[in-house]
């Protein structure tokens, strides 16, 4: 039994590792083809790591990506492809910022309110796709993509000074007003800057995610429905309800993805609030195999690529190298997982075959004796 577990772990690791190695090699090929050194860019990126401020940037970004990837992973576990994490994240952080700036409560309550609003808005926005899927059979892939676009328009309208936004005097920026200091999440002050306090909440959520999925009845139902909806239904799980619940949870976590930045840095939602976090989350969830530890390392890797690529620019290398690498990782991940899966299947068949053969031999011996 123990041996089997080891095999499974190795096979599990082989997928992402194979993908990374392939992506690495292909990136080097791209570099060579464009007449650049295939090694120096990596060296430069590693050098960047020595700066404490870059380290802090990477950790902070890891927390943000981690939350976004968890949101995607919850859906994946249920066989739901929530592409709308980005829209849920933006809408949630915007409305949370509006509420946060409008009220003035004692510290912890203020933060709690902002966080709850973000979760609620994210869940509701994802819930639309969930309801459409359960009642009308609309594919969540299509509906969440469209909801992304609707969220963009809705935010653009709401942030107008005539509605919920404001334009600071002398600025061409639009924002939602500053959240009073009681709504700021204290961070960890280091040499290189401040690690957002919410980053730690993000990592703690990874534990909650693991526990809920693997150690609760609900998590079992969720995984069972994801594996086979009809089988789960036959054993008494309300599959439709699970779809809706999974969508709501996914959206709520997506709503949290904006919190590290909002509570720790900007304290307002503006036109230059980061976008695209939800899409990076999909890459990371894929690479991390929906496993909380895997997602953590995948987030760290992507954050590393993102933040150290900046140094390439100044050294005369195009920093798009990091983006090329991220794109290659996505392709390589899909291919390598399929390869590893097939290999695992073949191995399993072989093993079963061997066992059967051994059994047959034994039977023969018994019969002969």
């Amino acid at each position: 039994m123990k041996k089997f577990d080891k095999d499974r772990l190795l096979l599990g690791l082989a997928g992402p590792v194979l993908a990374l190695v392939v992506a690495f090699l292909l990136t080097s090929v791209v570099l060579l083809l464009s007449g650049l050194s295939a090694i120096e860019p990596y060296e430069l990126m590693f050098q960047q790591l020595e700066f404490t401020d870059i380290q802090v940037l990477i950790i902070n970004q890891t927390g943000i990506y981690y939350l976004a990837a968890l949101a995607v992973a919850v859906g994946f576990r249920m066989n739901l492809f929530n592409i709308g994490v980005d829209g849920q994240y933006r809408l949630a952080v915007m409305l949370a910022a509006v509420v946060g700036a409008a009220v003035d409560l004692p510290g912890p309550l203020h933060i709690l309110l902002i966080v709850l609003v973000a979760m609620f808005v994210g869940a509701m926005w994802a819930g639309i796709a969930g309801v459409l899927k359960t009642t009308r059979g609309v594919s969540e892939v299509v509906s969440t993509i469209m909801l992304n676009a609707i969220a963009t328009s809705l935010i653009a309208w709401m942030i107008l000074p005539a509605n919920l936004g404001q334009q600071p005097p002398g600025s061409n920026q639009l924002n939602t007003g500053e959240i009073p200091e009681s709504g700021w999440f204290p961070g960890l002050q280091l040499d290189g800057g401040e690690i957002y306090g919410f980053t730690f909440v993000a990592f703690a959520l990874g534990i909650v995610y693991w526990f809920t999925l693997n150690r609760t009845r609900f998590g079992f139902d969720l995984r069972a429905t994801g594996a086979s909806q009809s089988a789960a239904q036959a054993s008494g799980v309300d599959a439709k309800r699970m779809v809706l619940t999974a969508m709501l949870i996914s959206g709520a976590v997506a709503g949290l993805a904006g919190m590290p930045m909002l509570l720790g840095q900007t304290h307002t939602y503006s036109l230059s609030f980061p976008v695209g976090v939800g899409f990076v989350g999909i890459t990371i969830a894929l690479l991390g195999r929906n496993n909380p530890v895997g997602i953590f390392f995948a987030s760290l890797l992507v954050a590393f690529l993102d933040k150290t690529a900046e140094g390439l620019d100044l050294a005369g290398y195009p920093k798009e190298i990091a983006q090329i690498m991220q794109g290659l990782i996505v392709i390589a991940v899909v291919v390598s997982y399929e390869l590893v899966r097939q290999y695992g299947l073949r191995r399993q068949q072989q093993k079963v075959g061997e066992e059967l053969a051994a059994q047959a031999r034994k039977n023969k011996e018994v019969a002969a004796a």
């Binding site: 095999d7 190795l10 096979l11 690791l13 082989a14 590792v17 194979l18 990374l20 190695v21 590693f46 790591l49 020595e50 700066f51 404490t52 401020d53 870059i54 380290q55 940037l57 902070n60 933006r90 963009t152 328009s153 935010i155 653009a156 309208w157 942030i159 334009q167 600071p168 005097p169 002398g170 600025s171 061409n172 920026q173 639009l174 040499d191 290189g192 800057g193 930045m261 840095q265 900007t266 036109l271 230059s272 609030f273 980061p274 976008v275 695209g276 976090v277 390392f297 760290l300 890797l301 590393f304 993102d306 933040k307 900046e310 140094g311 620019d313 100044l314 920093k319 290999y343 191995r347």
Partner: protein, 349 residues
């Protein structure tokens, strides 16, 4: 089993590599603060980066001019897609630490980052284009009266139109582009209030494709032409090129923006139909700031560029435009009125 071991070896080796990448704990503080106050200047671009044929390219032109005339060494840095304030802080810090002076943030998105970084480098001058909300002893806010130039474009459009319908195409619906709209609409209405102005924006933030996708500009211009517009003013960066193409092909008048688009090689095929352009002298502003630092008397505070110093202006390179003497007359009169304060141009529609 043999194959498994091989996969395992590769796996472990690469994991070790990945770990050494990610779990590095060195905290050597970076401190190469070379303060040689000679000859290094840097600009950090806004969304789109260099090659947008418009705003960022104008800043780059200023840097190049400084490199040639003042013998400074220029550095550029591009933003990443969807980045946040910490990335901008990081970028400006790196540039300042490398001894660049001045460090110029191209675009209002740099305001919070400059407010954070500037106090840490008191000997470095920071330029901030299009924003006056953050100020400091070593911050120069370079701003433009875009609405004044657009007002003149509105006067010209109202004089030239025969269908009494003109169009305005904005790239992305941000307050900055609304300044262009406000000035243009007011210019048209003040000249002839029977002229109908069609206003359209290509995208909404945070989708900034409206500054970079010519097909969007083309489709929007086509729609306005179909609705009877015969003069179209596009303030949409690279997307404006599509609007100019559609307008020129229909034989109507286009008005360009930021640079003198009549002179641009990429638009040479349509230049006959580019009536004029509302220019914004970003390159001059960048050059002036670098020069002031080189001269030892760095600019600071609000530096406003308007009609009076040609910081914004209406270009006169198309002979077809300069031949329309009554139009030129009206434009010149409006210009004089604005400078004298007899006309106040609104900054928001």
């Amino acid at each position: 089993m043999r194959r498994i071991t091989r996969i395992a070896t590769v796996g472990i080796a690469s994991t070790a590599l990945a770990l050494s990448v990610t779990a590095c704990g060195s905290d050597s503080s970076s401190g190469s603060g070379s303060d040689d106050n000679g000859g290094k200047a840097a600009i950090a671009y806004d969304i789109g980066g260099r090659g947008d044929q418009s705003f960022n390219d104008a800043a780059y032109a200023g840097l190049v001019e400084a490199e040639e005339e003042l013998d400074v060494q220029g550095t550029e840095a591009e933003p990443s897609e969807g980045e946040g304030d910490p990335d901008k802080v990081q970028r400006l810090t790196t540039l300042a630490r490398a001894g660049n002076n001045p460090v110029i943030g191209v675009g209002f998105a740099y305001a919070p980052a400059i407010a954070e970084v500037a106090p840490k480098f008191p000997d470095t001058t920071f330029g901030l284009i299009d924003d006056t909300s953050k100020t400091g002893p070593n911050i120069a806010n370079l701003v433009f009266n875009e609405e004044q130039g657009s007002y003149l474009a509105g006067v010209a459009a109202a004089k030239v139109t025969e269908s009494d319908t003109v169009g305005f195409i904005g790239g992305v619906e941000t307050p900055l582009i609304k300044k262009f709209e406000a000035g243009f609409v007011q210019g048209v209405k003040d000249t002839n209030k029977d002229v109908n102005v069609k206003v359209q924006y290509l995208t909404q933030p945070p989708d900034f494709g409206g500054f970079s996708k010519p097909d969007l500009g083309k489709a929007a211009a086509q729609g306005q032409l179909d609705a009877g517009a015969d003069v179209i003013y596009a303030a949409a960066g690279l997307a404006g090129a599509g609007a100019i193409e559609a307008t020129a092909n229909a034989g109507k008048w286009a008005i360009g923006v930021d640079s003198d688009q009549y002179e641009q090689e990429g638009l040479a095929a349509y230049k006959e139909r580019i009536l004029t352009s509302v220019t914004k002298n970003v390159s001059g502003a960048v050059f002036n700031l670098i020069k002031s630092v080189q001269d030892g008397d760095p600019q600071n505070g609000e530096i406003r560029y308007g009609l009076e110093d040609d910081g914004v202006a209406l270009s006169l390179s198309n002979p077809a435009f300069t031949e329309m003497t009554d139009v030129i007359e009206a434009v010149d009169k409006a210009k004089a009125d604005i400078i004298a304060g007899r006309i106040t141009v609104k900054t928001a529609p």
